[in-house]
Symmetry: C3
Subunit: 157 residues, 3 copies
């Protein structure tokens, strides 16, 4: 039987991407002390980068927002694996750390990051309301427009 959060995803018309498996010596997520630490994800759909370049130059604010939303979907896909497929186990999205590939004069970083924050609340309601930071990065892996990492509380010890 599909869970409550899976039903919500369907209701919202959202499909999770295939969670990426890093080729290098690290893991996409890890549970310690009941908290899931998710490695930074990007705006990638099943292995293919969708938003490359700097927001404020090659990309618009709207594209940046969409990039943050797709990045958040990848975070949810990883958290689902950390929960052995059962997103109903998510007690709380604790913290998102947002790294934005933006020009030095682009100051609407919060509006870009809202793409991720809004998605978390649409999916998890109150449990999706998180603490966050957001900053402009001088460079990101692959030239991605956005990278976001996450901490979530999934219960247990």
């Amino acid at each position: 039987m599909a869970g409550r959060i899976e039903a919500r995803l369907a209701e919202l018309g959202l499909t999770l991407p295939e969670p990426a498996s890093p080729a290098a010596n690290y893991v996409p997520y890890l549970v310690a002390r009941g908290l899931v630490f998710v490695s930074a994800q990007g705006p990638i759909w099943n292995g293919e980068p969708r938003y490359l370049g700097r927001i404020g130059a090659e990309l618009s604010l709207e594209q940046g927002r969409a990039a943050a939303e797709l990045t958040a979907l990848n975070l949810v896909a990883q958290i689902k694996r950390a929960c052995a497929g059962d997103l109903d186990r998510v007690r709380r999205i604790v913290r998102l750390g947002g790294f934005i590939n933006a020009t030095p004069t682009f100051s609407q970083l919060p509006q870009v990051m809202d793409g991720a924050s809004d998605l978390m609340v649409r999916i998890f309601d109150g449990a999706g309301r998180h603490a966050r930071f957001v900053l402009g990065a001088a460079a990101l892996p692959l030239g991605l427009a956005v990278a976001i990492d996450a901490v979530a509380d999934v219960g247990g010890r």
Copy 2:
């Protein structure tokens, strides 16, 4: 009766700013597993940004230090709310993450960040001594000079 830390604030002549309430879909702080995760704060006094621009260009090292100190006051104001008003519950400031809006050649980032670190120790003594990181950001929300997030241990489970 005012607590020990409130008395210390008074002794130091420090007033806490009004803690900011984010308009977007995130929270200023959140308690998980006994740890408070505080969203990144800036050098803002009751809603009004006080230090805008890059340190090493529009702003001096001294102004950067003052910006970090004001930012730390905002972190304390959020932690106070997380403790239902009782700062005596703070067991430890665990970690500060410092994002500095600086020119690429400005390398005195630790001295800027010391404005926040020193304030935490003046207020909380040994319990204010934290782990930290500090880096130069390519851009910050609103063009703020400094943004800092925090994790603190406030007891409980």
Copy 3:
């Protein structure tokens, strides 16, 4: 009697640097809720910075990788102190946060960071596999090429 991890270090021909003691009002590491939070470390050998400058300009990818590896050795040296000298107490390297001093067009940040990730796995095997993020910083303390912070699980409450 030397522990299992110390034997591994010897086998790998690795010597830990002297862990740095910060002059300012923060601590190099701190244990909260069974997690060690390590302040950002740099590619420093016994107090002397070894890699200064930007990767993609003054420094090559290979030098960046070596800088990340030396930085990780400094993290291990701090974690050892946090474990009262007994690295066998490390249950898991939980998360590494990588800040790379790179030119805006340098996108091989993951390959630089792999210098640190690979070292953790060589030393701690499966317990060294961590979550991570990596970004290009606009500036780093002292002009260091790399700075990395860490969270590790060392048991206890």
